[in-house]
């Protein structure tokens, strides 16, 4: 280790910055800029969803009725729980509690994994009910009764949106899980100190963003079905 590396490790300050405050401001601005590009990335899907939902409302309502709102709500709670443990992990890193940082990260991974597991079960249910657009599209029985009034082709469009939006969200979750694993390995070695915890905070911001996307996906996909 060179002298400079030792200095960097002790103070957490990279040499291109004047002080810790400036470094934290730069880290923060960088990840927020990235999240803004992510807003626009998901925004395209949300805009397309808004248009087609307006054009084919009956079909979207029927499609939404096939989803189980209770499973969706339970999964929302699981994901919000993972955001809580993520926030607590960042807090533990800030206070220099290495054990708590690691355990809260692991808890976040477990909750994230549970969310993806439920999502996989739901995807499987779509195959069981034959409401997977293109691949397995042959709704029958109760599903057909829900979908027929809006037109089957338009209902298929709803399920394209369902899979594209939840799929893109799930990919973000998988990437987040990989980042969390990397954090766990680094945190175990004591890489984070109250002066230097930027990676935990940055991954935390990403994780919360993915949570926010779900906060909007849940009502838009599961709850528009007019279940009264």
């Amino acid at each position: 280790m060179t002298d400079e590396e030792v200095l960097t490790h002790e103070t957490g300050l990279a040499h291109q910055f004047e002080d810790l405050e400036q470094q934290q401001e730069a880290d923060s601005l960088g990840i927020w800029l990235f999240l803004v590009t992510e807003i626009m990335f998901f925004g395209g899907l949300f805009a397309a969803y808004a248009i087609y939902r307006w054009l084919y409302f009956a079909a979207f309502e029927g499609g939404s009725r096939i989803l189980d709102a209770r499973i969706g709500a339970a999964n929302t709670v699981v994901l919000l729980g993972s955001s809580l443990t993520m926030a607590l992990s960042v807090r533990s890193a800030q206070t220099g509690n290495r054990r708590a940082t690691v355990w809260f990260l692991v808890a976040t991974m477990i909750l994230g994994g549970a969310f993806l597991g439920v999502k996989a079960y739901e995807y499987n249910q779509k195959f069981v009910e034959h409401v997977v657009p293109s691949l397995d599209w042959a709704p029958e029985g109760e599903a057909l009764a829900h979908l027929a009034p809006g037109g089957l082709d338009h209902a298929q469009l709803y399920f394209f949106f369902y899979f594209a939006m939840t799929g893109l969200h799930a990919i973000h979750m998988v990437i987040g899980m990989g980042l969390l694993l990397w954090l766990v390995l680094r945190a175990r070695k004591g890489a984070f100190t109250p002066h230097y915890f930027a990676p935990v905070e940055v991954v935390g911001l990403y994780w919360h963003f993915v949570d926010i996307v779900w906060i909007f996906l849940f009502p838009l996909l599961y709850l528009i079905g007019g279940r009264y």
């Binding site: 405050e21 934290q24 401001e25 880290d27 923060s28 601005l29 927020w32 800029l33 999240l35 803004v36 807003i39 626009m40 925004g43 395209g44 949300f46 805009a47 808004a50 248009i51 307006w54 054009l55 709102a69 209770r70 969706g72 709500a73 929302t76 709670v77 919000l80 729980g81 955001s83 809580l84 993520m86 926030a87 607590l88 807090r91 800030q94 206070t95 930027a198 905070e201 935390g204 911001l205 919360h208 963003f209 949570d211 926010i212 906060i215 909007f216 849940f218 009502p219 838009l220 599961y222 709850l223 528009i224 079905g225 007019g226 279940r227 009264y228």
Partner: protein, 109 residues
Amino acid sequence: MSQQIEPQKTYIIVFLCLIGLTLLTTGVAFVDLGALNTPVALLIAFCKMLLVIFFFMHLRHSSALVRIVLLAGFFWLALLIVLTSTDYRTRSWTPVPAAWSSSAPPTHP
């Protein structure tokens, strides 16, 4: 990235509020509010988003620069959705000349 450390209690209270709002939005979906169902669901989702952004993502301790970047992001998202919607919703206001409709192939002069 703030140096302020929130008390653990704050995070837990915010989490409980988020759970409460999730249960509320699920419950309201089973009540007939007429045209208001979707606006109410979106309003609740918006409140949940604010809770996550301000507390979990520490925006309440962030600098003005970060806030402006985020506001600009939402502004562009609003442009994307509002302008696209106005296009689709006003297309029917003007009649399509017969020569443009799909049934009549365009004739070149």
